[in-house]
């Protein structure tokens, strides 16, 4: 057989039927469900009298609308409450497993899948959420779908798809100290642009990727969608297997050995070709922040706010003008002179235990700047519990961080955690779109360590110098 890529292997293994024009019906191994994109899908099932086809492959959680403060009271905002209750009722009616609000396992949908061992290599994984690409870190084909497709998967456990093109992004060499997975993916997006991955599935490879922990790999794949790619993936290896082993939904005993034997066959074959190749050097990557309102608008923390004239393309010049105005920034300002009002540490990009450890390392023995509100929202109840056990929570509370309950929170502010107009936020999330964190809010994306540094100095700060 001709050499195949990781993507091609998983694809081939899931084709139920292929029609003449190349459109395939592919089988879906795992389906994650949350409250925002599922109500209309369940409604569709109800109207047509259809059932959920594979209950064992389906897992639901509420995350986008949930309050991150006291959970003993009902949710205050009526529409949020209705959406959460709708999911609860739908799960009951259709028999779907749900991690409800009181459950320790509740958390952000892309954090709980890997945490439970629900996410495994070689799988097809979908969710009505674009950051489903996160799960690709395990060597799975994972991508976001719309609500009509959520209904399609619930009813048939399949999707109608055409194969994507493949893009290999290799990051060679070693990252310098103080530079993290987040800086790596922000620089990659800066390099190829937010549309650079359109139509592609990205395979991340190279020494710097191999050396990442699973948490770091998830951060990278999480933001593949911000480069326009539907999915990002990394070949599974020992790091992957060690992470999965022993998790509640991971294979056990003899099944474990069989699974690992299969997972080891998944890496791209020697000589497999990609539709496009991009190579970056790890040592060229510095701690990186965004200045504009798309994730491609990045500069090293040591740099300055660019000027519209710095761009060749007329469209980009116009949009840069608009972005500077929205962001309240002047061209030429040093990034490190930009003061922040809010720091948000959380989201499916950076709210895992390793991220919180990084934050604690920077914050230990220091104080959050007086004028800054610094929010830490763990990715799940289990991350929260572990951080409390490891003493991370104490360090952060001591330093003046606001320690919250798990959920999506200020990543998109569907709950009360929102920026006010004009407020500037250093955020570990993945989108700096206009209004994303609150109408008129200004977002700078960065790594957890850099966010912690900003909380302490009250300005965007090079964490290597702190």
């Amino acid at each position: 057989m001709a050499p195949r890529t990781l993507y091609q292997k998983i694809w081939d293994d899931h084709v139920v039927e292929q029609s003449g024009d190349g459109t395939c019906l592919i089988y879906i191994d795992r389906h994650l469900v949350h409250e925002v994109t599922s109500p209309q899908a369940f409604e569709g099932l109800r109207m047509t009298g259809r059932k959920v086809r594979n209950l064992g492959a389906t897992l639901a959680v509420m995350d986008h609308n949930v309050p991150t403060t006291d959970r003993s009271q009902p949710i205050e905002q009526e529409d949020s409450r209705i959406q959460v209750e709708t999911l609860r009722n739908n799960c009951k009616e259709f028999d779907v497993t749900l991690f409800d609000l009181g459950d320790k396992r509740q958390g952000i949908v892309h954090i709980i899948g890997p945490e439970q061992g629900f996410t495994q290599p070689g799988m097809t994984i979908v969710c009505g959420d674009s950051h489903t690409s996160t799960h690709g870190a395990f060597g799975a084909l994972a991508f976001g779908i719309g609500t009509s497709e959520v209904e399609h998967v619930l009813a048939t456990q399949t999707l109608i798809q055409k194969p994507s093109k493949t893009l290999r992004i290799a990051v060679d060499g070693k990252l310098s100290s103080g530079v993290t997975a987040k800086d790596m993916i922000l620089s990659i997006i800066g390099e190829i642009g937010t549309a650079g991955g359109n139509g592609y599935v990205i395979e991340f490879a190279g020494e710097a990727i191999r050396n990442l922990s699973m948490e770091g790999r998830m951060t990278v794949c999480n933001m593949a969608i911000e480069a326009g790619a539907r999915a990002g993936m990394i070949a599974p290896d020992e790091t992957t297997f060690q992470y999965i082993k022993g998790r509640p939904m991971a294979p056990k005993g003899e099944d474990w050995d069989k699974a690992v034997a299969y997972w080891k066959t998944l890496a791209s074959d020697e000589g497999a070709t990609y539709d496009k190749d991009v190579v970056l050097k790890a040592e060229d990557i510095a701690p990186t922040v965004t200045w504009g309102t798309t994730p491609e608008d990045v500069v090293p923390i040591t740099g300055c706010v660019p000027s519209p004239e710095d761009f060749d393309d007329q469209n980009k010049q116009n949009s840069a003008k608009r972005m500077l105005e929205y962001m309240g920034l002047k061209a030429g300002t040093k990034m490190q002179d930009i003061e922040v009002d809010v720091v948000f540490i959380g989201s499916c990009t950076n709210a895992r235990i390793e991220d919180l450890r990084e934050v604690a390392k920077v914050a230990k023995g220091k104080k959050v700047a007086d004028k800054v509100h610094a929010l830490v929202v763990p990715g799940s109840g289990l991350v929260k519990a572990q951080a409390e056990e490891e003493g991370i929570a104490d360090i952060l509370i001591e330093a003046g961080f606001d320690w919250r309950e798990p959920g999506c929170s200020m990543c998109l502010g569907m709950n009360p955690d929102q920026l006010k107009p004009g407020q500037r936020c250093a955020s570990t999330s993945n989108r700096n779109f206009e209004g994303r964190q609150g109408r008129g809010g200004r977002t700078h994306l960065l790594s957890p360590a850099m966010a912690a540094a900003a909380a302490i100095t009250g300005k965007l700060t090079d964490v290597r110098k702190l």
């Binding site: 029609s19 089988y27 986008h64 489903t132 055409k162 359109n198 069989k258 469209n315």
Partner: protein, 202 residues
């Protein structure tokens, strides 16, 4: 069952911005609905309305000449960001049945087809022409013929466009994917049997 899409003859409205993301199309506060309909009035909320709730006169889609437009002309990478199907639902609810842009984000593009909206990707120069036309001659009608894959404006110009044959077939006939797939029940069951024996851990 979706509305079949055959020939659309309608006004075209310009939205001259690039990278219009799904947060701009439907801000998060409107994602809390449990329905598919009624999102149109809130589409583009942040750029469409002023702080006091009045309409922003500078926003092109608010201009009187574009009322009733069913075709949207816009810049590259339209619909980037989240997978929210609320974005095409809202655009459909505003009355648009076709979007023309140099490029679309992948998931958004997919979601359009599931709702009977036709997204057409054209070369930049052709989109520029359509954009200028929409700005300068707002009352002229644009005709989109899906069967022939042709966009025409009177005798002024004729652009051909590409579309995936399967999607074209579904749009022309208003076919619903789930119904189509359920006809393949036995293939799915066979796949599941093989999967259980090959990968017993799943």
């Amino acid at each position: 069952m979706m509305q079949p899409f055959k020939v659309l003859k309608a006004k075209a409205a310009p939205l001259d911005m690039i990278n219009v993301d799904t947060d701009v199309i439907v801000p998060k506060q409107f994602l809390k609905t449990v329905k598919r309909t009624g999102l149109g009035v809130n589409a583009f909320f942040d750029i469409r309305y002023n702080e006091d709730g009045s309409e922003n006169e500078d926003f092109s889609l608010n201009k009187r000449e574009y009322k009733g437009a069913e075709i949207l002309i816009t810049g590259q990478n339209f619909g980037c960001g989240s997978s929210r199907e609320h974005a095409p639902w809202a655009i459909l609810d505003m009355g648009f049945h076709c979007i023309i842009s140099p490029s679309f984000a992948d998931i958004f593009n997919n979601n359009c087809f599931k709702n009977g909206i036709l997204p057409i990707a054209l070369p930049q120069e052709q989109v520029d022409t359509l954009m200028e036309e929409a700005k300068n001659n707002p009352d002229d009608l644009l005709e989109i013929d899906l069967e022939r894959q042709m966009i025409t404006r009177g005798n002024k110009f004729k652009f051909e466009f590409e579309i995936d044959p399967f999607r074209k077939h579904c749009l022309l006939n208003g076919l619903d994917d789930i119904g189509l797939t359920l006809q393949k029940e036995s293939a799915i069951t066979n796949f599941e049997k093989k999967r259980s024996s090959d990968k017993p851990w799943l």
